[in-house]
Symmetry: C2
């Protein structure tokens, strides 16, 4: 078995019946939505994205940027100048994702006062 770039060959089938599964397949990943949002906001370069999301490891950001690229959400442009320069931007498909993200984000904000304590409870002790 040969892997590229720490990518994992899926052994269990992916669920794609419902459109929402497609949405989750694209957006699930610790920093993916943040990356989409940053790029949408004009933050284009890898180092710049990492400065904006300092809690993420550069390693994982690269991995997820690669996945978003593979899923057609963003596009990577490599400027073959010296020194090398890279920029990401949303594709047309990525642009269509923005309103959907805004909808779910508004839902979360509207119910944050209820959700936050419930999520943080997570009953760790007995």
């Amino acid at each position: 078995m040969t892997y590229i770039c720490t990518m994992y060959e899926k052994k269990l089938p992916v669920q794609l019946e419902c459109g929402l599964h497609l949405f989750l397949e694209v957006t699930s990943g610790k920093w993916k939505v943040d990356l989409i949002w940053c790029i949408h906001s004009g933050i284009k370069r890898p180092a710049e994205l990492h400065r904006r999301l300092p809690k993420a490891s550069r390693r994982l950001l690269n991995t997820q940027l690669k996945q978003l690229t593979d899923h057609g959400i963003i596009i990577k442009t490599i400027f073959e100048q010296r020194p090398q320069k890279v920029e990401y931007q949303l594709t047309a498909l990525g642009d269509t994702l923005i309103p959907a993200i805004e909808t779910t984000a508004r839902w979360g904000e509207a119910h944050r006062h209820i959700l936050e304590p419930l999520i943080l409870k997570q009953s760790p002790s007995i």
Copy 2:
């Protein structure tokens, strides 16, 4: 360390800055959206839900139903008759989730023709 019901005590902090993280925190889970949708459609009892989602193990369905309950999305009613009977239904909060789910599902369906081949590619071989 004592756990209940195979629940896992989280060791890494949860991200809740953005409202979308709240949405994902609630909906991420292999069968959660399906469960929400089935319950929304009037399928209320555990065995009935399992028949509708035969590819899911009853074990995992129970776990995710418990999490949805803990997050205030559904409510569990136990009828103390013989034999015991259980019914789930959406809470008021759960009801508000439906339009958000519909939005993302519509996004997925609208772009399925592009997304599906890209997701299935997942370059497993070199």
